[in-house]
């Protein structure tokens, strides 16, 4: 541990290590804190917050798929006001970096949410969800629209001095075009990828297994897709990338950094092993020691591709 510097910087945000708990997989931190030491982790991203509380989608919300799961939670959340009042005090007690994820149905609403939250010192950066596949107004239509992503990035950036990350949808033909637009409009980094749209049907009832019909696919099943998308962004843009998608262990995390991620988020694995972040941390330290890596940030984008 003494010989490895695990700290990373993503578009102006310093983290003590590159391990971040992904939005929607840790609530507001209180439940997972029973199983893991949040103080050891680089950061935590809140469940997507919307201006008003949202009840979320009716059941069935999740279904398991081969090495993955589909979810259509529908952005169930307490809303910005209650988050500030009820959730922030708990999160303040931890020595980890808090990133607030925002979901909205209009450019103005994104800005309004950020305005309400930006003076909370404990929030160090914003992650803007333009890619929730599970609600009509969850931003997926923004996530598919280059102009909209540019406009949201620009407006949110204008309203806060804190770093702004845009969480990109993989359900587009060229994700690197979106990363470029984020960069051009002042975004500090991109989080890639959000879930892939998928579905699953019961062959006897012929009904969809989740009420919303489609859901977002996550877990190790999507890791190769996530790696390809991160690599594509890395090869076409110099915007910092927070890699997300099916990371289960430290080896997966190293792979994600090699293809271009400056930091990474773990999501679905938290449901199965809520202490995965700390285990990944220990694995990364050993990997760096064994491979004589002094700063973990040296790993980012070091893929060796022969022409």
């Amino acid at each position: 541990m003494k010989n490895v510097d695990l700290s990373v910087n993503i578009g102006g945000l310093s983290l003590k290590n590159p391990i971040i708990l992904a939005s929607g997989t840790v609530g507001y931190g209180n439940e997972i804190a029973e199983f893991t030491n949040l103080n050891l982790l680089g950061g935590i991203v809140t469940k997507s917050l919307s201006l008003k509380p949202r009840k979320g989608n009716p059941p069935q919300r999740i279904v398991e798929t081969p090495s993955g799961m589909l979810n259509a939670i529908g952005l169930a959340n307490v809303g910005v006001e209650s988050f500030i009042k009820d959730k922030i005090p708990f999160l303040k007690a931890f020595d980890t970096t808090l990133i607030c994820n925002i979901a909205a149905s209009s450019v103005e609403e994104y800005v309004e949410c950020v305005d309400m939250l930006k003076n909370e010192d404990v929030i160090k950066a914003f992650e803007i969800n333009v890619s929730c596949p599970n609600v009509q107004e969850g931003g997926l239509e923004f996530g598919n629209d280059l102009n909209a992503v540019g406009r949201i990035t620009d407006k949110v950036k204008s309203s806060t001095r804190k770093p702004v990350f845009i969480k990109l949808s993989p359900n587009v033909s060229r994700i690197s075009d979106f990363a470029k637009v984020v960069k051009e409009n002042g975004g500090n980094a991109v989080s890639a990828i959000n879930t892939l749209v998928g579905t699953s049907f019961d062959i006897y009832t012929r009904k969809p297994k989740i009420k919303n019909i489609t859901g977002g696919l996550s877990g190790p099943a999507i890791r190769p897709v996530a790696l390809a998308k991160v690599l594509e962004i890395k090869r076409n843009s110099d915007i910092p990338i927070i890699g997300i998608g099916g990371i289960m262990n430290w080896k997966d995390a190293v792979e994600m950094m090699i293809v271009g991620a400056s930091a990474f988020q773990i999501g679905t694995v938290n449901f199965i092993n809520p202490n995965a972040g700390v285990e990944i941390l220990n694995g990364l330290i050993s990997y760096c020691e064994n491979n004589k890596i002094k700063n973990i940030s040296e790993l980012t984008g070091t893929f060796q591709i022969r022409d």
Partner: protein
């Protein structure tokens, strides 16, 4: 709550497709309460990916028992465990039964594998409480009486006991049951629980139900197991707010 690697002590076939697994789990066994569950990882690789929630069926010293039916790949793998193999438990999870206050008779109403949480509940009941178990199943081969007490059966095909479902059996016995102060504890498939819930609400009976639901994490972070609250304003989570609810608390 713990994440505990538990070694398999025994696996016993209890019925056609029903098994009882006994595992060494000293950390969880000493704090678990009746009606709580564990989320179990049955394999060490990524398939199947998610844990499976199982009611704690019984506790004996450092050992936990889980009763399960063959259902899919997860339970198939669980049924193939050998002595000395391990499974990984996350638990104990959820809110269990409220059972040690003022009433004379505990009426257990179980449908099929809904019997799973009751051996541990029965074991923990004060000895002076009268216990009646009504156990329903499709036919006599589906009735697992492990750990139950004073069992009356109901089968859909009439192959054993009362010919009909378990809620009908309850109705037929209610005269005798309701002569004293009683509480109903129900667990089973959703349609059965719904019938039980309606009957208990109509008659103002004291009733707790244990609800089954697919879930990912089991402790509140995935938000995958919502259940409508009776007031309908917000969802409750089966994993955290349940799995045991007061019958009047939720909409099934």
């Amino acid at each position: 709550m713990y994440i505990e690697k538990a070694f398999v002590e025994s696996l016993e076939k209890m019925g056609e497709d029903t098994f009882l697994i006994k595992v060494f789990s000293p950390a969880i066994s000493c704090i678990v309460k009746p009606g709580q569950f564990c989320n179990i990882k049955v394999s060490e690789n990524d398939y199947p990916l998610l844990r499976r929630p199982f009611s704690v069926c019984n506790v004996d010293g450092d050992y936990l028992f889980f009763l399960f039916d063959l259902h899919g790949i997860g339970t198939k793998l669980l049924s193939m465990k050998k002595n000395g193999d391990s499974i990984e438990l996350l638990g104990p999870l959820g809110k269990g039964f409220v059972y040690d206050d003022q009433y004379d008779t505990a009426v257990i109403v179980a449908g099929g594998l809904g019997a799973a949480p009751f051996p541990f509940l029965i074991k923990n009941m004060e000895p002076e409480k009268n216990i009646i178990t009504l156990l329903g199943g499709r036919s006599k081969n589906n009735l697992v009486t492990y750990g139950l007490k004073n069992v009356s059966a109901a089968t859909d095909d009439g192959s054993e006991g009362f010919n009909g479902n378990v809620v009908e059996l309850l109705k037929s016995r209610i005269g005798e049951i309701s002569s004293g102060k009683f509480r109903i504890f129900g667990c089973g498939p959703n349609p059965m629980l719904k019938a039980l819930q309606e009957y208990c609400i109509e008659n103002n009976f004291d009733c707790q139900i244990s609800v089954e639901c697919a879930m990912a994490c089991g402790f509140g972070i995935c938000q995958g197991c919502p259940i409508d609250s009776a007031e309908g304003v917000s969802y409750l989570l089966v994993c955290k707010d349940g799995p045991v609810f007061n019958a009047s608390q939720v909409k099934l």
